[in-house]
């Protein structure tokens, strides 16, 4: 068969083969157009719904959002990939933090700065910690008592024993007593951490009594914190992420850190979804 004959067969159909008529082609075309139009309308509706929910996510006061199950669900869906892309490298995929770099556990409802409200978390994401922006958290930092020669090696070891005692770990009694005297003495730890060692979230000074340590709570890590000081930073995400994304992340982190509370108020599904649970 020559090329012309093949072409003709394709157009007309091979001998004995049934060929679609013109009306059938028109019908098929009409169905395709209808399907496409339906898809477009559906996508438009979904887009509008998304836009509406996104607007509602930002429209209210930050702490009101977490009380709305629909918004909580929307925020967690938006935030999960964002967290994986921008936050997990420091805080971990499971949000449990990384003591090696001082990245805190975001699930324990214990906050270095602020009170753990959506507003407080959002504020930290917006402007960061010691990010070089004046709106960032940057009141003070942990001095390098050893490196600056403000405390001797022995004094630091005594303070470590006192911290172990405060947190219910085995400690050396006499050294812990010396450490306690030091706490209120030369370095004046209470100036930031408080006379009761419960910390001060205005300064970003951690509670030293709850056995939660961003940089590790073993004796060597505690020694290093006292000797080298701590000056951790977190970038400001304003300008990099949209306000909607930042709000979604704040709500998501809030939900993760208040999981039991969220469950109690009926957000179980959203939280379970956010945790990747069936």
């Amino acid at each position: 068969m020559t090329r012309d004959h093949k072409h003709a067969a394709l157009v007309r159909g091979a001998p004995g083969q049934r060929v679609l008529g013109r009306a059938s082609w028109v019908g098929l075309l009409a169905v395709a157009v209808i399907l496409l139009a339906g898809g477009a309308v559906g996508a438009a509706i979904l887009h509008l719904q998304h836009s509406d929910t996104a607007a509602r996510l930002l429209a209210g006061l930050p702490d009101e959002v977490a009380a709305d199950p629909a918004l909580l669900r929307f925020a967690t869906i938006q935030a999960r990939p964002l967290f994986a892309a921008h936050c997990a490298s420091c805080h971990g995929e499971n949000m449990k933090g990384n003591p090696r770099i001082g990245a805190p556990d975001l699930t324990d409802a214990i906050w270095l700065y602020g009170d753990g409200s959506v507003y407080g978390i959002e504020r930290t994401i917006l402007y960061g910690i010691r990010s070089g922006r004046s709106k960032a958290h940057n009141v003070t930092d942990m001095p390098a008592f050893g490196q600056r020669g403000m405390l001797s090696d022995g004094e630091i070891r005594e303070l470590v024993q006192y911290l172990l005692k405060l947190n219910g770990h085995p400690y050396e009694g006499e050294a812990a007593e010396e450490g306690r005297a030091l706490y209120y003495g030369k370095p004046d730890c209470g100036d930031c951490h408080g006379g009761d060692a419960r910390g001060d979230s205005d300064y970003g000074a951690p509670d030293l009594t709850v056995n939660v340590w961003n940089n590790g709570g073993d004796p060597q890590s505690l020694y290093d914190s006292l000797y080298f000081g701590r000056h951790r930073i977190m970038p400001a995400w304003i300008g990099t992420l949209s306000l909607e994304q930042i709000r979604a992340l704040a709500v998501y982190i809030y939900a993760m850190s208040h999981r039991s509370e969220a469950l109690r108020v009926g957000h179980a599904q959203a939280v379970a979804s956010a945790m990747g649970e069936p």
Partner: protein, 318 residues
Amino acid sequence: MPPTVAAQRPAAWKAVLGRLARPPQRSAALPACGVALGLAVAAVGLFRPAPRAVVAVPAGYVALVNQKGILMSDFIAQTQSETGSAFSEATPAERARVLHEMIDEELLVQRALVLDLPETTTEVRDIMASGVNAQVDAPLGAVVPTDAQLRAFYESHRAKYTTGGSMTLHDLVLHIGGYENADQTLAQAETDAADAVYQLRSGSSIDYVKEHFGFVDSGRVDDTEQLDFAAKLHLGAKLYEAASILADGEISEPIVDSDGVHVLVMQRRRPPRIADFAVARNQIYSDYRDAENRRARQQNLKILRSEAQILLAPGQSE
């Protein structure tokens, strides 16, 4: 029957009309469509009203000031800061006042940009430059130096870590010229001063030298202990240089200065000493941090320069 008007047209017109009446060729039709479309777009662009400004405040903002948003988060933070209580406890009047202030501030900032204050006002330029440097410094704060790095820094900057010296001395001067010393020449004064130095080194008292040669206290220092920087300030660089190398009880050679010939009698000298690493480590730590920040800022400027187009006028250099 008279001929029609059309029939009276010249033959040339007939030819033109005939060409127009013919269907256009493809090569001419497409450009013509393009031109028509372009004109239509231009007309729409020219005559339609300018796009209207956004009139609704976007979600996440509390106000728009000339299209510039004031963040809700900033409003909450400012309200809490000013009222000293939670945002939810702030009264409507308090919130309104804070918002009013924030809008005022935004207006002033925008006005500052219109007035090009970064170009014309030193303080604005300084704070902008400092803001950029703060951004450069920020990540360095998290990098903790090791003791070895601090010690290496100390070793390479030892002269910087000196304890301040001090001195207690007499500064005697034999004035030249003036009403009381009109007959005194420089040569005679130098000779007398050399004799005085000899007498002092032989054990004569300062009072004897004053009485015998006519020396007086210069008044530049008293008989109290002076820190080195203060002694240098009071004595002047030339006399300080001579004084700083004298030990306790030593007498300087005669020194000619603007007001006469001086002789310095050192009573007590504590020379500056280089501080041990352990003593100076607090300062070393701060200096190391500062040096790292300076290095990062220089690096940042190097990058900015590499990306910038900088032209200097003829004859200028930097």
